[in-house]
Symmetry: C2
């Protein structure tokens, strides 16, 4: 009998379809595309030497080993084809227009690309701990920088790995977008955790963390700062959340001491997926409270990693209920063994 | 400058990214897979002669031209690998269990497959008007049948066309699932239209229909019963809604007289997409009110057709804001010309 499980934080339901259960092997991709990429591609706009093909960087970490001028290990540039555009001057945050029955506004915001390494052939799972830590530090610093712009209501940090996850460029990179609205889907998540807090006086994510650490079956790995777990109502097979042990609603408060702990854990989880599922396509997003909710006691930032092993189809679109063919406890067990 | 547009019914935002604008040609698939399929495949469980490979049909339309016993033109069978399972007896609609901090329940419901034609090589766009009308009649009749089961809170009718839309079997078919819960995503949609009704005293979908008919730019085609349009805040390129002119929140009230009008329009819209976009992958869903909201004045059922031309990636997942690279007015114009 399949089970319906509800995520207490978002009130979203997932169907855990045990009758359709699959083993990790069924998902493993057997092409070795990532391994066979060259470490340099002269046509890649993100490769060293092609810096002129991207807009001027807004941030850059120079390579401590190279020493020579112009060598970098992480580089952040404005997206050449931005989804949202930095406004002139201070921006006008009230530029929403009623068009008869509709609401429309200028697509102001920010859209940056984090080039994670000069090496074209790598991915986060195959970078060193220090390199992934540098990427996490870059996320935190750019988050704080973009969070200062009055036109950004929310900062979304995300990564699309592989064509099935929507990547157009293979060179390792993540993206950061600042949005001028808090959309309904996010408001709904915030409302759900707010209601939980109003009822019980605790953060639902803190409670999940306490419960899962005791329960153990869904925990993948942990360190002194973070816990990685397969959520009870996982929307997709091998979904993993990396939750900070310390309560904070905004990613921006990530401390210098926590950065290497998150870098280490992010790499560890992605390496487990890489081994178990054969370098799968995935998306991850840093779920953080909007700017004006940064101090709220009810929300708790985390990293949500979603392997793209199955296709969201008509039922999921029409019902808002996900069908997940792998039991989260089984996914966690497999990921624990893949360490 | 990209525009952010809000759907007044769901309060969901879409980014209309004009700088990333694409022409229909950029989406056209140039494989001719559908044309080259055989009209019969001996290994296909949905082909005539293989009826024993599916569970016993719950509904069947015999072929008026064949006359011979056993010949059918539409056939509905329980899904052999159901996402939700029909309970024994009357079912127990209160079988929700608190597992410490989580909610879990048995996955009871219903999952049927509508085999739309005996011809393996067809798709709705290449069936006759009468054949598509028969499919629509089957939807209505099965909707009414499933809506009687006390364990079904919502009936979702949907179709996945092509691998990119999540199909595993190519033989033309749709699916119907009855769910034991009204999930948060649907409740949010209902709440949004309820609030609109509470404020203005009218159905937001009726207002959209009135406005769009006058405005014309987003209308694809219309007949005496239905209007097809590209919604103002389309989530994906070439998204089309088919709205009944007559207000009704539940698909179950579709009248005998309206059935051929919907069949004709559904085929017309899918044919336009087939021509313009080269037999694209798509999902469609019939968005209908849950069982207990069937009489509500604020919701309005419709068919939502979503071509799968782009990939939902990290930003969409993290923000709940869609990025759509085709302006809905342009999509509507192209679809009008493809008639």
């Amino acid at each position: 009998m399949p089970k319906l499980r509800q995520d207490p934080a978002t009130r979203l339901w997932s169907i855990i379809a045990t009758e359709r259960r699959k083993r990790p092997d069924d998902f493993v991709r057997h092409d070795e595309a990532a391994e066979s990429l060259p470490s340099y591609d002269e046509n890649c706009p993100f490769c060293p030497g092609n810096e002129s093909k991207t807009p001027e960087p807004v941030f850059s970490v120079s390579d401590p080993e190279a020493g020579a001028a112009g060598k970098w290990s992480v580089r952040v540039v404005p997206n050449k084809f931005p989804a949202l555009v930095r406004p002139d001057g201070e921006g006008d945050t009230t530029r929403r227009v009623r068009k008869c029955m509709y609401l429309e506004m200028d697509g102001t915001g920010e859209h940056e690309v984090v080039i994670e390494t000069p090496d074209h052939s790598k991915t986060l799972a195959t970078l060193s701990e220090d390199e992934v830590t540098m990427v996490v530090r870059t996320y935190r610093d750019r988050f704080l920088a973009l969070d200062k712009s009055p036109w950004n209501q929310m900062i979304i940090i995300f990564r699309n790995q592989g064509e099935g996850a929507g990547t157009s460029l293979v060179h390792p990179h993540s993206q950061i977008i600042g949005t001028p609205v808090v959309p309904e889907e996010i408001r709904r998540r915030l409302d759900a955790s707010q209601r939980y807090y109003d009822d019980l006086g605790t953060c639902v994510y803190c409670d999940i963390l306490d419960y899962e650490i005791k329960e153990k079956t869904r925990v993948v790995c942990s360190n002194s700062g973070f816990v990685a777990l397969c959520p009870f109502a996982s929307a997709v097979p091998f979904e993993v959340w990396i939750l900070p042990r310390r309560h904070a609603s905004s990613f921006g408060v990530l401390s210098d001491g926590e950065i290497p702990l998150l870098g280490k854990m992010l790499r560890d989880v992605l390496q487990r997926m890489y081994r178990l599922l054969g370098n799968p396509d995935y998306n991850y997003v840093v779920r953080s409270a909007p700017h004006h909710s940064a101090g709220e006691p009810h929300f708790h930032w985390y990293v949500e990693i979603l392997p793209r092993l199955t296709t969201r189809a008509g039922f999921e679109i029409g019902s808002g209920i996900n069908i997940n063919v792998v039991v989260p406890e089984d996914a966690a067990e497999q990921l624990r063994k893949a360490g």
